[in-house]
């Protein structure tokens, strides 16, 4: 039986001198061979084993985007333990609130160990002193080899194919964090099927990624796939990339990069950041795959226009529809030709849920066809399958679906139907076998690649001095400059409240609690906000009212 661990060992054994990964940091980069990579990961295995951890134990990694994170992840995996990456504290987040979230996660998931930095260990140990979790620190080296490596990797050899390989934290609203549990069989099967869908060639492909590893696109496409297939990975920091978006183009030129995954906003950000007179060599880039946010044709066009002078071809544009619950990819467009753009009547799409082709209308970009083993269906509200060009909720079945939400049987039962369908909460239609996404059933905003729930934003507004409690509504509106949604919050103020003070307090609170910046904040007179009879906010109606009153 293959596991992630046995696959990693096989890659290192067959070609120990081959580069596994080039880690790019400010002021330099260094390349690590497969042999060195395995040894560094084994140091973490050994540290965990000495601490008494073993197969099946959940290990949470509270680490920055770094080599320590990379090695700790595979170290846990080599031991047969279950690694899970938690987003690290940033300068924007409130540190106390952040540590509280780590505590909630540990409580709910029954984690057995946390690996973090020495300076973070003390506040966390204090906070978690009542819980049966060990806090281990970074800096594992060969000095940690107190057990022979062969003995450590033995632990993962007895694992069943259905044993949990890793957890991805799905974006539940903050109170409802859920870990998507994926088996070894699921991850390995996804790696194989997705590799086929993009015609991955580990001999010639070079994957360049700045994506965070706590998100499925970064973790699977930009990390697990290259490591397990033996494809050279050039790994950059998301924090450094966002401040210098063209650093991705430089890395592609330097390493003859061939494959990249980007959320839609990144196309616009990179295009805006190219300075006049800049030079890049993008001739090696064979696919840049748009994923994890709504895809806009206009963003693709701007990207091509800006980068064509550097050897970038529109044929390298590609799209994938993916989610943590399916390990990663559901669909993929054919690599080597631009995705199909379906032009449909706007009114028919919005009012009747029908995608009727027309000459001038809404331009919907294809997400491609299902990858190997994926079955797609579009369901109406009664869960009858709909024909092509009819909008409904996207359902899927595959060989790499989640095993369940970790330690949350009630959520797992809800997510998967008796006949095995996972209902995605996304709305879309099929045309000529290709999938097109038209909206979302779930109340979720995707802002610059980050998922956020409007309920959480409204909750923050309700706790802000000056805001009339229960009289705040949050929703997303497309920001064309960013090529992504922006957060809009509309609230009614209490009598005599100072709007400037309320705005400053609310904006600061949102960024400290969610890292997301409010795009537009409006204070409206009492009675402006529409409510449904159930008392629940009619977010869609208020969004319409906002758009007609304040414009986009």
């Amino acid at each position: 039986m293959s596991t992630l661990a046995s696959t990693l060992i096989a890659r290192a054994t067959e070609a120990p001198q081959q580069p596994a990964l080039t880690f790019v940091e400010r002021g330099g980069e260094h390349t690590i061979s497969r042999g060195e990579f395995l040894q560094a990961a084994q140091a973490y295995s050994s540290r965990l084993a000495v601490a008494g951890l073993g197969a099946g134990d959940l290990v949470i990694l509270v680490l920055q985007h770094s080599l320590d994170l990379v090695y700790a992840f595979w170290g846990a995996s080599l031991l047969g333990a279950v690694p899970s990456i938690f987003p690290f504290l940033t300068e924007k987040l409130d540190p106390d609130l952040y540590r509280q979230r780590v505590k909630t996660l540990v409580e709910h998931s029954d984690a057995r160990a946390i690996i973090t930095y020495p300076e973070n260990a003390e506040p966390l140990s204090e906070l978690l002193s009542e819980l049966p979790v060990q806090i281990l620190v970074t800096g594992a080296t060969t000095a940690d080899f107190k057990l022979p490596a062969s003995e450590i990797s033995l632990q993962s050899e007895g694992l069943a194919p259905e044993a949990i390989a890793l957890l991805q934290h799905s974006s539940g609203s903050t109170g409802l964090q859920k870990g998507v549990a994926l088996s070894h069989r699921a991850v390995l099967r996804q790696v194989q099927a997705y590799g086929k869908a993009i015609a991955l060639d580990p001999q010639t492909d070079v994957i360049v990624s700045w994506l965070p590893l706590y998100h499925d696109m970064g973790l699977i496409a930009g990390f697990v796939v290259p490591v397990l297939t033996g494809t050279h990975l050039v790994l950059m920091s998301p924090f450094e990339w966002v401040r210098q978006p063209t650093s991705l183009l430089e890395a592609i030129g330097r390493h003859r990069g061939t494959l990249c995954w980007l959320p839609n906003f990144a196309y616009k950000l990179i295009a805006r950041s190219v300075r006049p007179g800049a030079e890049f060599d993008l001739s090696s880039w064979r696919a840049v795959i748009n994923c994890s946010e709504p895809v806009y044709d206009e963003s693709h066009q701007v990207f091509v226009e800006k980068l064509a002078p550097f050897g970038f071809s529109a044929d390298a544009l590609a799209v994938s529809y993916a989610m943590a619950e399916n390990t990663f990819a559901v669909t993929q467009t054919e690599v080597g030709k631009p995705p199909t753009v379906d032009v449909v009547e706007i009114a028919a799409l919005q009012e009747r849920g029908e995608a009727i082709p027309t000459a001038e209308g809404k331009r919907v970009v294809s997400c491609g066809t299902p990858i190997e083993s994926v079955e797609l269906a579009i369901f109406d509200v009664e869960r009858n399958a709909l024909p092509e060009r009819r909008v409904g909720e996207i359902g899927l079945r595959s060989e790499f679906m989640l095993s369940g939400y970790y330690k949350r049987p009630e959520l797992s039962a809800e997510a998967i139907t008796a006949d095995g369908w996972y209902l995605t909460g996304d709305m879309g239609y099929l045309a000529d076998g290709e999938l097109y996404i038209s909206g979302r059933k779930k109340d979720l905003l995707i802002v610059g690649g980050k998922n956020i729930y409007p309920q959480d934003l409204e909750d923050i507004a309700n706790r802000t001095a000056g805001v009339y409690p229960g009289r705040a509504v949050a929703f997303g509106v497309l920001d064309e400059r960013l090529g992504s949604e922006k957060v809009v919050i509309v609230c009614e103020l209490q009598e005599g409240a100072d709007p400037a003070a309320a705005e400053q307090a609310l904006r600061a609170k949102v960024v400290q609690e969610t890292e997301v910046t409010v795009g537009d904040l409006r204070f409206v007179p009492r009675g402006w906000i529409l409510k449904t009879s159930s008392g629940k906010h009619a977010r869609t109606d208020n969004r319409e009212k906002y758009l007609s009153e304040f414009g986009g």
Binding site: R243, L269, G448, R507
Partner: protein, 84 residues
Amino acid sequence: MTDKTEIISKLNAYIVTELLKRPDKTIGADEALISGGLIDSFSLVDLALFVEQSWGARIDDTELNAETFDSLGQLADLIAARAN
């Protein structure tokens, strides 16, 4: 000679019109831009390019954080010191 008040007024106009899309607003010279949740990470790059084009003052990407400048006043000082 570049006048600080003039720089602040030009920065304010750019931010409220292009980034916030709220031309009716005025940002105070001491108001927290980054830590206060007014400007997101994706707009910092635009702001740096605007500063470079308007005053020839280059802001290194390592400086795009709340420590280097978190208000129009601080950004204007940085521009005045580097403008050519």
